[in-house]
């Protein structure tokens, strides 16, 4: 199973977490989804969204172009 990637470059918060919310339902429980977002609020907001929705922020890395990339695991 491949991890889908959401490209949210250039999109202002709260659009990145809206995209996550729209796509998390298509991920199997225990599966992962990656979101690439460069808004300065994306890091704290994705972490807060995972906490509020009971999902797991597995790691934050950088995409090849330096854009922050967030790996999220669906829980429940």
């Amino acid at each position: 199973v491949t991890t889908p990637v959401l490209d949210c470059r250039g999109r202002r918060c709260p659009q990145p977490i809206l995209e996550l919310a729209r796509h998390i339902g298509a991920v199997e429980v225990g599966g992962t989804i990656t979101i690439e977002a460069d808004d300065p609020a994306a890091g704290p907001d994705i972490a807060a969204w995972c906490r509020m929705r009971g999902h797991e922020l597995v790691e934050q890395t950088l995409a090849e172009d330096g854009t922050p990339s967030f790996l999220v695991r669906r829980r429940g």
Binding site: R12, L18, A21, R22, D45, A48
Partner: protein
């Protein structure tokens, strides 16, 4: 009629301050350093204001100085303390949630060759006193800065507990969010505040330095002045700020109880009537008049303009409402949701009916913003 709920930025100017401003503009416009009659009159008004502010903060009059704003008082407090304590070291320790004026002064200190340590806060926005003290008592620390309460989320900081364990490390305390609302914590070495926060006019900051604490002006000298900060003092606004502070202190316990109950109502009603909302900050160990919450799937700027269209003035720590498009460093440090953020802050001028009107309107405004973003049902 607009309902003003942004008193943590600037409270409506109290009637006592307006009366004092008018009177002092007629009698106290001259330079208080001059020895002729008009100058001496201004000097008398200035010194009476200084004594009044000193009494309110539990200081001696000669420990109190006035700055042109709260921001400049904070800059002077930080830079003047680290400068005068260079023999202790080059370090400055501060909480991660200090006012941006403190963080900018810390950056200036670092750019000048000093170093800084930021102490993290918990989910409620509070520093751990032991971690703060351990960092502040490390070798090579010139001074430490800890706010009395956070200006965005209202959480009180453990200033007294920190001061008890700090030894001879000078402690800079920003009291802007508490002065005129609740008792000040003891143990400060250098204090700063903004008169706008207690219903004084804009353009008056307070800087106080305890006798025996080393502090040296970071600015060029001002010939002929015996003040800590350079430049002529604006006597009429200072007199008005002191009058406002007296009025605030006169009603402090009553107003603290009244506003704290209104904030408690906002905290519980918002959590019950707005879906997917996170009320931020300590629910109990807080100032009486500040409450902050973040709405999932909403954008702070749209919330602010939606509320403004309905006649409510609030502020926001969301990135879209800042000129730099970065989210509030306070919310980030707490790990709180930064989008859809609203800060409500009350004052002597806020009525119960205004709070209830706000609470009645808010759920619809949030729902409209979410519908606009296509977030309904998420």
């Amino acid at each position: 009629v607009a309902t003003y709920l942004d008193s943590a930025t600037a409270a409506p100017v109290r009637p006592e301050a307006i009366a004092a401003l008018t009177a002092a503009s007629e009698d106290g416009w001259a330079d208080p350093k001059r020895l002729y009659t008009a100058g001496r009159r201004a000097r008398l008004l200035l010194e009476a204001a200084r004594e009044s502010v000193a009494e309110a903060i539990g200081a001696r009059p000669d420990e109190v100085s006035f700055a042109p704003s709260g921001v400049q008082a904070l800059h002077a407090a930080v830079l003047g303390t680290v400068r005068a304590n260079q023999r202790r070291g080059a370090g400055l320790v501060h909480s991660a949630v200090e006012h941006s004026a403190v963080l900018q002064a810390a950056r200036a200190h670092a750019a000048g060759g000093g170093h800084t340590t930021s102490i993290r806060v918990d989910r409620l926005g509070r520093v751990d006193p032991e971690a703060f003290v351990a960092a502040a008592r490390a070798p090579d620390v010139a001074a430490a800065a800890l706010q009395a309460a956070n200006h965005e989320v209202g959480t009180l900081q453990p200033v007294a507990a920190v001061a008890d364990q700090l030894g001879d490390v000078p402690l800079i305390v920003d009291v802007t969010a508490v002065l005129g609302h609740v008792d000040l914590p003891g143990g400060w070495s250098v204090l700063a505040a903004d008169a706008r926060a207690w219903g004084g006019p804009a353009g008056v900051g307070v800087l106080a330095v305890r006798t025996g604490v080393r502090w040296q002006s970071p600015y060029p000298a001002d010939d002929g002045s015996s003040e800590r900060l350079p430049g002529p003092l604006a006597v009429p606004p200072i007199v008005a700020a002191a009058a406002a502070l007296r009025a605030a202190k006169d009603t402090e316990p009553f107003e603290a109880a009244r506003l704290s109950a209104l904030v408690e109502r906002i905290r519980s009603v918002v959590a019950a009537t707005v879906p997917d909302v996170e009320v931020v900050g300590d629910p109990a160990v807080r100032v009486p008049h500040i409450v902050t919450f973040s709405c999932l799937y909403a954008d702070g700027e749209a919330l602010l303009s939606g509320l403004d269209r309905r006649g409510f003035a609030v502020s926001s720590g969301s990135s879209c409402t800042s000129s730099t498009l970065t989210p509030s460093h306070v919310l980030v440090a707490m790990g709180a949701l930064t989008s859809g953020n609203v800060r409500v802050s009350l004052s002597h001028a806020t009525s119960e009916a205004e709070v209830d009107e706000f609470l009645a309107v808010l759920p619809g405004v949030v729902a409209d913003v979410r519908a606009e973003l296509g977030a309904a049902g998420l």
